[in-house]
């Protein structure tokens, strides 16, 4: 086995670009600012859709410290589409069990794997530098990505049909023209500041300490443990999470009055960790950080030719793993739209729906994150009283466990009310409503092998057709390809363009009857479904999903 790359020590070489010595400035269809998880995911997605991308990063290293560590099933499915999901899942720690403690007693445990029939686990824990490392490795395989390290954006001049960026490098400054700029440059986004915009919302007056410790004995199961008010850290919360390489993330709530500089010192961290793990625990402190957070977003994620994604556009508390996960989902939403608009297959208005759909998703994340934060850190005496009452009842009464909120773990937003959805014309059951991210399911492929539904979907639109109905065969609408994937009930033989619904899970999850059709967008969100549609109805729904009406 080849030696593993040490992503934390990896540095990338700055290479002078030809653009630095041309006049007038070079023009590119897309410039992405920030090579974090969001910028890298977006660049890969665009390159896979044959769009050349310039990706600028102000640094030449990956994430310092573990930072985002929980990657959700939907995000892993997106990484699968980008060609690096397998490496992440292989390296990551899959976990399903969570335990909740109040004071020093466990009040209950939960299992996230309530539903089978998905290729990817509910979550993996993986340090952000691994996620960025695997994405960067994938990006480097794609010749359409021009990744420029040590290239800091210091000026943005927006125009009606382009923006001019000023980029600072070790060789000095140069200008770049971009048809579209996507700012993925994090919560303190330089691009956002340069165009005079702000992210607004609620700042929480609390501080948290993250300590990553490498344990010498690994005698603990891979579980998420959450304490409310434990005796080893009274009146505050503590979260313990396992990462790969024997590293454990411990997150201590400190309160607003804590001094971040003092708390960051190892001599103050080590006693806190020992209070949790025991005096005899053998561990090395790998990384520590004291942070505060806000739940906030930009009012609009699109400002003409400058678009915002990830933390640059919106911020949440870390409870629920909704930061990096929602950022990757932003990229997933934007890439196909930008690619089609640049090809002239869809109007500019399609990019407005990136903003409206992801603003909606950000509101959902902010709502969930704010609720979790208010439960974990009650802001008034009465809020604390009810919080403790819930925890006291949760020990004996299952109903109260539904109220315990140590972070509602990230699930993708269902884009209810999106202008790209076609309303149902017949009754359907289940969660695969227009706007929902497609649920995975086990299939038998045309070649007789076992597989997964999401891998069988097209890069463009896909129509899942239940049964043999041939009326949509080989269709392409509005110049955009449509893959017709026939789903056959178990017992049928699969031919080309068919999959077998091996365990009946597709029919159940999508509520399919013979003749039913579900139309999926390139980002695998449902946009329409019918019992027995005409080819005309499908064409209309595709036009709607391309913002052509």
């Amino acid at each position: 086995m080849p030696a593993e790359v040490d992503f934390q020590r990896l540095t990338f070489e700055y290479v002078r670009s030809r653009d630095q010595s041309v006049a007038p400035p070079a023009r590119h269809p897309v410039v992405v600012v920030g090579a974090g998880p969001v910028g890298l995911a977006l660049a890969i997605d665009l390159a896979q859709r044959e769009v050349p991308v310039v990706l600028l990063d102000n640094d030449n290293t990956l994430s310092t410290g573990s930072r985002a560590i929980c990657f959700a099933k939907r995000t892993l499915e997106i990484f699968d589409r980008l060609g690096c999901g397998e490496a992440m899942v292989a390296k990551g720690v899959s976990w399903n069990t969570g335990r909740v403690f109040f004071r020093d007693a466990q009040i209950y445990s939960f299992d996230l794997l309530a539903e089978g029939g998905h290729e990817r686990p509910a979550f993996i824990n993986l340090q952000q530098y691994y996620v960025e490392g695997y994405l960067a490795q994938r990006a480097l395989q794609l010749p359409l990505i021009d990744l420029r390290w040590k290239s800091k954006v210091v000026g943005v001049a927006p125009h009606a049909d382009h923006a001019v960026l000023t980029v600072e490098t070790p060789d000095g400054r140069y200008e770049l023209i971009a048809d579209h700029v996507v700012a993925c440059d994090g919560s303190r986004s330089t691009v956002r500041e340069l165009i005079g915009q702000q992210s607004k919302g609620r700042v929480f007056r609390d501080r948290f300490l993250i300590a990553d410790v490498k344990m010498k004995d690994l005698d603990r199961p891979a579980e998420r443990w959450f304490w409310f008010d434990p005796s080893f850290h009274p009146n505050q919360s503590v979260l313990l999470h396992m990462q790969p390489d024997g590293v454990w993330r411990i997150d201590f709530q400190l309160g607003w009055d804590a001094d971040p500089e003092v708390e960051k010192r190892p001599e103050n961290i080590i006693p806190r960790v020992k209070a949790l793990l025991g005096e005899d625990a053998q561990f090395d402190l790998e990384w520590a950080s004291v942070y505060t957070f806000a739940c906030q977003r930009m009012e609009r994620f699109r400002h003409g030719r400058v678009l915002f994604a990830g933390d640059a556009a919106h911020g949440v508390s870390p409870f629920g793993a909704r930061g990096a996960n929602s950022g990757v989902q932003d990229a997933d939403n934007l890439a196909w739209k930008l690619a089609l608009v640049l090809r002239g297959a869809a109007p500019d208005a399609l990019l407005d729906t990136y903003a409206s759909e992801r603003e909606f998703a950000a509101d959902e994340n902010i709502l969930n994150s704010t609720r979790a934060t208010d439960f974990i850190t009650p802001k008034s005496e009465i809020s604390r009283l009810f919080r403790d009452a819930v925890l006291d009842l949760a020990r004996d009464h299952p109903f109260a466990r539904t109220l315990v909120n140590s972070g509602r773990l990230s699930v993708p937003a269902t884009l209810h009310g999106s202008a790209l959805n076609t309303a149902d014309t017949a009754p359907f059951e289940g969660r695969m409503v227009p706007g929902a991210a497609a649920a995975d399911a086990p299939v038998t492929r045309a070649d007789g092998r076992d597989g997964w539904l999401l891998h069988e979907l097209g890069d463009g639109f896909t129509a899942l057709v239940f049964g043999d109905d041939a009326s949509l065969q080989g269709a392409a609408f509005a110049g955009v390809p449509l893959k017709v994937l026939h789903v056959q009930a178990c017992g049928h033989a699969a031919g080309a363009g068919h999959v077998i619904d091996r365990d009946g899970v597709i029919a159940e999850r999508y509520d399919l009857l013979p003749g039913s059709v579900v139309l999926l967008r390139p980002d695998q969100h449902v946009c329409a479904r019918w019992r027995k549609p005409s080819a005309e109805a499908v064409r209309h729904a595709m036009q709607r999903a391309l913002a052509l009406h």
Partner: protein, 72 residues
């Protein structure tokens, strides 16, 4: 479904006595905690969010009518 505000208790006097009795020998703080647990238990029994919202509004109405609003 509407919040029932017409008489509905099967034994009003017995309930009231039991309610007061449940708080016997508790400090004010302990009583508050008991009340909070009671609210949660009863809310779960009711279940319906629409009814619960009506109950919260009806309870809050007395405050609005009798006390000046606290402003932060």
């Amino acid at each position: 479904m509407d919040l029932i505000t017409a008489p509905h208790l099967s034994a009003p006097d017995d309930f009231y006595e039991a309610l007061i009795d449940a708080h016997r020998d508790l400090t004010v703080e302990q009583s508050h905690a008991l009340n909070a647990r009671l609210v949660l238990l009863l809310a779960n029994h009711v279940g319906d969010q629409g009814v619960l919202v009506q109950a919260l509004a009806a309870a809050r109405k007395i405050n609005e009518e009798t006390a000046p609003r606290v402003t932060a």
